[in-house]
């Protein structure tokens, strides 16, 4: 029981960490608070579901398809919708408000399209639905695969950002957006790429989620919220912070669901959020900023 819960918690936490990393890229580097983030996730879940149920396509192939689609979609959204807002806004606060409002509208558009195409029912499909024995506990294989994928994608992103010149440029923009151009970084391009990369991660997260969880067209909001909480817990822009905060959140949620009540998971998440806001608003691992 305990081991099963622990692994289920790690799986959920790994997924949260993965999607939160995407959001921390979008918010930490591009400075866009994207409220439609969860809808990108769920759209990818629907893609995996549709491909799996209609054409019997393996979700792993959907993953390879979804990542570039998420990248292109977010790239276009940034270029068409958010870039004009960035250009228009005079202060960081004005941009924050504008981007929140615009992406709030986008949330309803994407949700509406998904409702129209798939309806409002709970959706799931069966993939690798057999048990694997780990430390005497039986764990569904699809969950294990989800954990491995989340860790691999998250680790890959971490290496990309810390070990390549390109990633260093992105991080430079995150730290000092106005100084980055002085050393020859095209800040506009970096910001757009970061936003698109975040979208690609969201799409990956969506496919991973669809492998082992049921979802509906309206669950995106919950994912956005949890990802935001993870981002704040870990410290905005901090990838390792997002990873550990995501794992903590997933473990807490699973243990509360197993040992207390499944109806109180969100309350537990909010309690953690409240605690973070009261005691460490800059995040568990964040230094005091500004």
């Amino acid at each position: 029981m305990f081991v099963t819960t622990l692994i289920a918690g790690l799986v959920l936490g790994g997924t949260y960490a993965l999607v939160a990393m995407g959001l921390t890229l979008q918010y930490g580097i591009s400075r866009i608070m994207n409220l439609a983030y969860g809808e990108t996730i769920i759209a990818a879940s629907f893609l995996a579901y549709a491909l799996s149920s209609s054409f019997n396509i393996n979700p792993l192939i959907s993953l390879v398809l979804a990542a570039p689609l998420g990248f292109v979609f977010s790239y276009l959204i940034y270029g068409l919708m958010l870039r004009p807002l960035v250009a228009r806004s005079k202060t960081a606060m004005a941009l924050e408000i504008d981007s929140i409002l615009a992406t709030f509208g986008l949330l309803f558009v994407i949700q509406g399209v998904m409702l129209l195409m798939f309806g409002g029912n709970y959706i799931s499909y069966s993939y690798m639905n057999f048990g694997v024995d780990i430390f005497g506990a039986s764990v569904a294989a699809n969950r294990l695969l989800a954990l491995v994928l989340a860790l691999a994608l998250g680790g890959g992103l971490y290496l990309l950002l810390t070990r390549t010149l390109w990633g260093t440029a992105l991080r430079a923009v995150a730290v000092a957006p106005s100084s980055a151009p002085l050393v020859g970084i095209d800040a506009n391009r970096a910001v757009r790429l970061a936003f698109a990369l975040g979208g690609a991660l969201a799409a990956c997260g969506g496919v991973v989620i669809s492998m082992y969880q049921t979802f509906t067209a309206t669950t995106g909001v919950v994912f956005t919220m949890k990802a935001l909480i993870v981002v704040i817990m870990g410290g905005v822009g901090n990838l390792l912070g997002a990873l550990s905060a995501g794992l903590i959140l997933g473990l807490v949620e699973t243990f509360v669901a197993t040992y207390v009540s499944p109806g109180l998971t969100l309350a537990a998440v909010y309690l953690i959020f409240l605690g973070i806001l009261l005691w460490r608003p800059s995040g568990l691992f964040g230094k005091a900023r500004r």
Partner: protein
């Protein structure tokens, strides 16, 4: 002279609105009720978010709290007392949210309010399933639609008066400074957190009351119905369209949009939320400061060209 004329005009308008139930059929009255509800919500939203620039996405959390209080308590307690308790609970929730987020930067507030409705919905669902054993509740109150309409109208007028009064008082001035520049505000000795908290609490209490007053209309109440996020969305877009910093802005935004939404939901029920979202994005892009500012700008431009024409 002009003041007396304005006052007389407003009194006539209120009298006309108050007597509307005598001339309207059931459908018209329902429309007026919804309209009064949304005008009040949008005005209450702008009361806090207009001057401070904090985007609250929690409107429906408070509306839902109000509605659920009526559903849970109306059989054991007299109606006025239920309204009072609902307002009290809304106020308490607002204070918790405000105290934990309003000292920080605005994003924390947005995120917290973003999930608040979902959190309360899950908590109520949990409580109903595990403690009372049933998910839905029926509201049987001897309150006629006319009475609901008059209550909403009265609440709406009180909200407008409150906004007008705040706009002229010291606290209104303090809010304007906070909205323009928080650093300046703190340097001239304004207690920023307390001012914001007070306004947020007032605005949330009014929203709770709107939910409580409207509850008897629904007869059947269920968490998924009363905590419908579209309400937060509509309130926000109405206040923005009219202009959240103006006294009459939310009203001017709410009336056309409410009618438009009624028409859309009747004619395009499946494309409703897509159209809403697109409209919302359009408003953010085209009218960032609201219709009122836009009209004034155009008006100002027209006049300036007139003047220059006259001078040359």
């Amino acid at each position: 002279m002009k003041r007396i004329a304005t006052a007389a005009g407003l009194i006539t308008l209120v009298a006309a609105l108050a007597s509307a139930p005598f001339f309207l059929d059931a459908y018209g009255l329902g429309l007026m009720m919804g309209l009064a509800g949304y005008v009040t919500l949008a005005t209450a939203w702008a009361l806090f978010s207009g001057p401070t620039g904090y985007v609250s996405l929690a409107t429906v959390a408070f509306v839902g709290i109000g509605a659920y209080c009526v559903a849970a308590l109306s059989e054991v307690l007299p109606y006025p007392l239920v309204l009072l308790i609902a307002a009290g609970i809304g106020l308490a929730v607002a204070l918790v949210v405000g105290l934990s987020t309003l000292r920080l930067s605005g994003v924390y507030f947005v995120i917290f309010t973003f999930g608040l409705a979902e959190l309360i919905r899950q908590l109520v669902t949990f409580y109903e399933i595990n403690v009372t054993g049933t998910l839905g509740r029926y509201i049987f109150l001897g309150i006629t639609p006319e009475q609901i309409y008059w209550q909403l109208l009265a609440l709406g007028i009180v909200t407008m008066l409150l906004r007008w009064w705040i706009g002229r008082s010291r606290i209104g001035l303090a809010l304007k400074v906070i909205g323009d520049d928080e650093v300046v505000a703190s340097h001239v000795g304004i207690d920023i957190a307390r001012t914001k908290l007070a306004l947020f609490a007032i605005s949330a209490t009014i929203m709770t009351l709107v939910g409580a007053i409207q509850a008897p209309r629904w007869t059947y109440v269920e968490p998924a119905i009363v905590f419908n996020p579209t309400v937060s969305f509509l309130t926000l877009i109405m206040a923005l369209l009219g202009g959240a910093t103006r006294l009459w802005g939310p009203l001017l935004g709410a009336v056309p949009l409410f009618l438009l939404f009624e028409w859309l939901s009747a004619n395009f029920p499946n494309h409703y939320s897509i159209l809403l979202g697109l409209l919302f994005i359009l408003i953010v892009f085209a009218l960032p400061k609201g219709v009122l500012s836009f009209i004034e700008q155009m008006w100002g431009k027209a006049h300036r060209t007139d003047d220059s024409g006259a001078r040359s």
